[in-house]
Amino acid sequence: MGVAKYIKNEKDEVRDVTLQSGIHVKPLYTKKDLEAIGFDPDKDLALPGEYPYTRGIHPLGYRSREWTTRQYTGFGAPKETNERFKLMISHGQTGLNVAFDLPTQMGLDSDDPLAEGEVGRVGMAVDSLRDFEVAFQGIPLDRIGAGLTINAVASIMLAMFQATAEKYGFKKDQVSATPQNDILKEMIGRGAWIFPVKPAVRLIGDTIEYSMKELPRTNPVSVCGYHIRESGCSPVQEIAYAFQIANTYIEEVLRRGHHIDDFVRGFTFNLNVFGNLWEQVAKFRAARKLWAKNLKERYGAKDNRSLLLRGIFGGGGYGMTKAQPENNIIRGAYYALAAALGGAQTTALCSFDEAYTIPTPRAALLSLRTFQILMEEIGLRDTVDPLAGSYFIETLTKQMEERIVEEMKRVDEMGGMIKAVETGYVQKEVARQAYEFEKGVQKGELIKVGVNKYTEGEEMEVELHEYRLGSAEEQVQRLREVKRERDNRKVSQLLKDLESAARAEKNVMPYLLECCKAYATLGEMTKVFKGAYGEFKEPSIF
């Protein structure tokens, strides 16, 4: 595991293929392989839209509905981001996926000394409701759903989103937000954590519980195998870890006395698409089946709508290369094909210049056009789950399924995902595999075109997105203005109320909503939580 391996003989014949998940691929598959693995088309497949949903969650696949396209967008001040949102929507994008800068992801205001140099750099800067008002001004929030790529402070941002929607006259049941809100994967792979594991998971429980009643169209959590894979794990582990993380959040809500069928429909997944095409397609098919089984058998879900694995399959960042960046345009097209053959409801692609910096409008548009060409020109909408019944794909789907189950068992034996993260078990496993992958590429076991083979040719300079230094200063100015204009007495009272709620382990969402409406800042609210909860300490894994 760790890296896919291709072994060739001196005549350049491929002698052995091992996928990243550790599965050996045979040169030929026949009916006998399906028999050997015990494939039963009725039990393993059924029809699309039917349990176990291996073939898709909708009976007609993309015939009834095309996928939603959501390029990850956001930089500088909210006004610049708002303009880019509108540009992408005018080009036919059907959803938003908001990128926040690092201070925002870490719950720091733009004037915090720790934010220096980072304001507006890798995403949009947000300090208060004022910024959300500007960012979503003129966006039809009843039609366009908003993915919010935020985790540690997702509860605060969801409250801010609700306050914004209200301000612009949308009803609570009209708007749909998808905050990423998956803190365990941040602790494993992406690093934007603040609070310790247990209170952080409790905050996620709060958002789920709150959304059930208050924001029925919102998907309060998007569980990300994506970033764990970006950090080094195999496709099998990507799904196994994501499901065990989801199970942790499920149990947090069940603990509060709710029934699984009342909330689990709000769960979505964010999964990765780079690497071997067949392995990714089989992964998505196996994942749909296992998620349905997990809910039915482990949690006793009765409502069929609870069993559907919905999600964004896309990105592919780690497959993209810095060398010969134009090759990433072609890679992106194949990754999008994997997502489509895997039955993605929503998609997004890393743009070809993202190994350098955040994408230029031209690069982002190319990604969007990639999706449009797939859906409109080459026949991906013709028929649902077109690879079903293939000797190879069905065998591989079963093999992936078996391995995902084994990997999930390993986490169960550790005592669940919270333990596995607190002790650093998953982090260690992921880092080890990342190292194996890198060694494999440097030794040439896994070919990356332009990196370790076919490296000749002119070096191409990419046009880079410019970071505008002035936007940080403007952001700090706006923050000062907000603090001057708001009712500061009211804000401090509301922050005190928030603190008591946090300490009493009440659901904090209604308190956050009031704070946001009064223009309390993200930094102020986060500080309250830090006081009540403390901060996460990384387990040492070396």
Binding site: L102, Q105, T357, Q442
Partner: protein, 133 residues
């Protein structure tokens, strides 16, 4: 016997993408160096203090967010102030070509953008380190 090179692998600032830092840490260790990894979200103060406490020969920064110039400027200034500017500083991460000259100007010579091979960076460190006593 030759003393092992001690290197601090540090993740300064708010960026949490640590795949690169952790991979390089393992490669440096396999190359016979003693590696100390700081973990995430380190301030410059924390990094210089750890460097002094651990008596390292090299500080290796990993930065993915694009904020490498302001971060490196701050580090070099602080190191001068603390009189530890004899420690070799190297940097890896998402570093566009055009930022290499300004980084060199503030005194960082070991610059390893994404895609640099382990061999190349390890060789460079071994050739350029002045072991401290």
């Amino acid at each position: 016997m030759e003393k092992k090179i001690r290197i601090l692998v540090a993740k300064p600032g708010l960026d949490g993408h640590d795949r690169g830092a952790k991979v390089v840490a393992q490669a440096l260790r396999d190359a016979g160096m003693e590696v100390i990894y700081t973990g995430l979200h380190q301030t410059i103060d924390q990094i210089t203090h750890t460097a002094i406490q651990e008596g390292v020969d090299v500080i290796g920064l990993s930065i993915m967010s694009g904020a490498h110039l302001p971060i490196c400027e701050k580090l070099m200034k602080e190191m001068k102030k603390m009189k530890i500017d004899d420690i070799l500083v190297v940097i890896g991460g998402v570093i566009p070509k055009r930022d290499i000259p300004p980084l060199q100007k503030i005194g960082i010579q070991g610059i390893f953008p994404g895609g640099t091979s382990f061999d190349e960076s390890i060789r460079w460190i071994k050739e350029n380190v002045k072991q401290r006593v």
